[in-house]
Symmetry: C2
Subunit: 435 residues, 2 copies
Amino acid sequence: MSSFPDYDSIYRKNVPDSAEKDKVKKIVERTKTSIIKILQEKRISAEVELVGSTSKGTNLKGGDIDIFIVFPQSFTRDEIVKHGLEIGHRVLPDAKEKYAEHPYVFGYLEGHKIDIVPCYRIKLGDRVKSAVDRSPLHTRWVIENIDDAMRKWVILLKVMLKSLGLYGSEIYRSGFSGYVCELLVIRFGNLENVLEFFASSNRNLTVSFGNNNVKDESPLIVVDPVDPSRNAAAAVSMENLSRFRVLSREYLIEKSERYFSRQETENVRIHERGTVYRIISLPKPDLMDDILIPQVQKMRKVIFSMSEAGGFHPIDTEILVTDRINILIELETCLRPGVIRHYGPPAYSTQTHNFLEMWKNREKLRGPFIIGDRIAVEIKQERDFESYIISAIKEKDIGAHLNRLKEEIRITNPGKSASKLKIVRKYLGRTVFND
Amino acid sequence: MSSFPDYDSIYRKNVPDSAEKDKVKKIVERTKTSIIKILQEKRISAEVELVGSTSKGTNLKGGDIDIFIVFPQSFTRDEIVKHGLEIGHRVLPDAKEKYAEHPYVFGYLEGHKIDIVPCYRIKLGDRVKSAVDRSPLHTRWVIENIDDAMRKWVILLKVMLKSLGLYGSEIYRSGFSGYVCELLVIRFGNLENVLEFFASSNRNLTVSFGNNNVKDESPLIVVDPVDPSRNAAAAVSMENLSRFRVLSREYLIEKSERYFSRQETENVRIHERGTVYRIISLPKPDLMDDILIPQVQKMRKVIFSMSEAGGFHPIDTEILVTDRINILIELETCLRPGVIRHYGPPAYSTQTHNFLEMWKNREKLRGPFIIGDRIAVEIKQERDFESYIISAIKEKDIGAHLNRLKEEIRITNPGKSASKLKIVRKYLGRTVFND
């Protein structure tokens, strides 16, 4: 490894030390043994496999341990879920259940998070019965194709992505999964080659290992070598890919270590922007991020698009989840015109008479008159943002859990205190370096 | 003619009485004789023809008299213009020159406006050498195809169109020419049939007399019977056609006489609209309407589109020409945000580094950050409408004559006195009934 940046030292800081490795090894052995014992006791012919980064030697310090119980396809889905949950709860004290495509349990042993996940045994080329069935194949493929040098580069790539807020394929993160990091390094050999790939000016980026049957139109395609019709990088959002492309170019020029540790937002200078802020907030329900955050993002989109449709000219939004869900919106105005144009049928339609009749005795501010080839009137509208957006949100789906909290939505005007608020500072501090 | 509405009485009110007819006849004879005398004196073998509505018996009270001097094609363009102007000035005291496609003169005799226009003799099917060459053919075709009943309907159609502000094919009017009125009545037989045609729900309207070689994509096509590749109604704007279609339907339902006399704008109730008005004005140069008005309309479009581009969210504009040219603009705000987003290259472009370098040390309000697949910054901008629009107009072409007056543009804020201003009342009083 080159001397600047000091990749070796960054690597050592982020990889588990030998004590952690020993400890994890023991936890894995103990857990596998317990599971096997229960399977024998229940006369179930399933196998137990360590999968994920720990099994591949690409795990960051303090990483999760993923243990899969691999069932033959003769079991029903209900059976493997039932057995999986039961075994998980017996092996992990205080385990909690979590829902990916099907339920599994997770818990903590000596400070390490352990997932115990039931899945089906499939062979290369088989159709999966559940999304997690591919994991054992992924693990095997990576182990067969990676070497120790590459393992180090995977760690460094993960550290960089994590520092930049681009690591994790969960829907609310929309970044790069550990598996995608491994595939990229296996394909390009080392970190800088991976970054060169993203720094290129190709509009769409595709990585493949021979066959490519991906139909997907994502901007980034990393063909899954164990299933060439699957895009392993489907989770990566356009914004995150864009950010990584810009940052790859910058990194290759400046090679600074700051890409390997989380940057605090610089001191944000608060400028007079000649706009208004509103904060729309509601209580945070007790949900895991992967359930909650997509709903918060949906709500944010609804707020932005309804503000736009309502004529308040929103500029941008920001989310900050504390004990409440807070959505900041910056608007050109919170007092829209008191007049709105309402278009009727085109002038060639014989419906123009009905339109004129309909508006004859109604209150209007102007018209009916012709705009282009349409008949139109201008009528009065409420000007106030707060009452508009409250009722606009009420008519929209903002996700199962947040829908129930609509009555508790509160809108605040941070006014002159905006500059003191964390959410405003986060909003104004947004750069290519942070998410 | 039917008894209600009293078409006969409307007709009588608008057609020249016999005294006027006699007087016009004498003026025409006298003028033609003078012109012929000059032609003989100059040994020019041109002919003199009365064309236009007077010659066809479709003229409104006090209408213009069009006398054409028809030259053989052996004359050059310069020659016919020179002779035409010279003869015009000799025949008409205090004549002025006017520019259609080529110069001609007009003046007044006993209160009647007379045009003296040089043109080339062409036969049916010949290519025209100047746009006015078709007029003698139009006159002949109409005379051959019209009867007295139709003449009355043409008068009534003209009166209706004039009352509605839809009569005249000059560019600043964009309405129906007298010739188009004649063609419509000849084609459909009477006024109500013409209106039925416009009241239909056909998206595009076409009137033809056999052949139709018009390539034009105008919403209204009236094929010129003397040149089937020409759309005689090309001047009619989409807005005017739309207005006439809507009003044709209304008229056929209510058959009110108010469609035959200019309606004064109803008492406009001034409502609070929660918007702002600005009046942009400059001195009116001493020009004829057909030169001036297109420039004023150009200026109005520039003001609207630049206000939109500048983020002031214009609603609509109005023109009022008095001793000054006044353009009213209604805006959502005259104080736009103090921040504007400036987009850089897409994230896949290797130019992102230059963009980041460029903005590194410049003042910015936010970013550089990623929006979608683009890199962007937000920077400061002046908020004020007045200074923005003044410099925006300076950069744009608003027509040869108005360009020279840019330094004299004045912007006023009518504020609370808006409701007292004629231009605001005209603006707010706009309906399908007025232009």
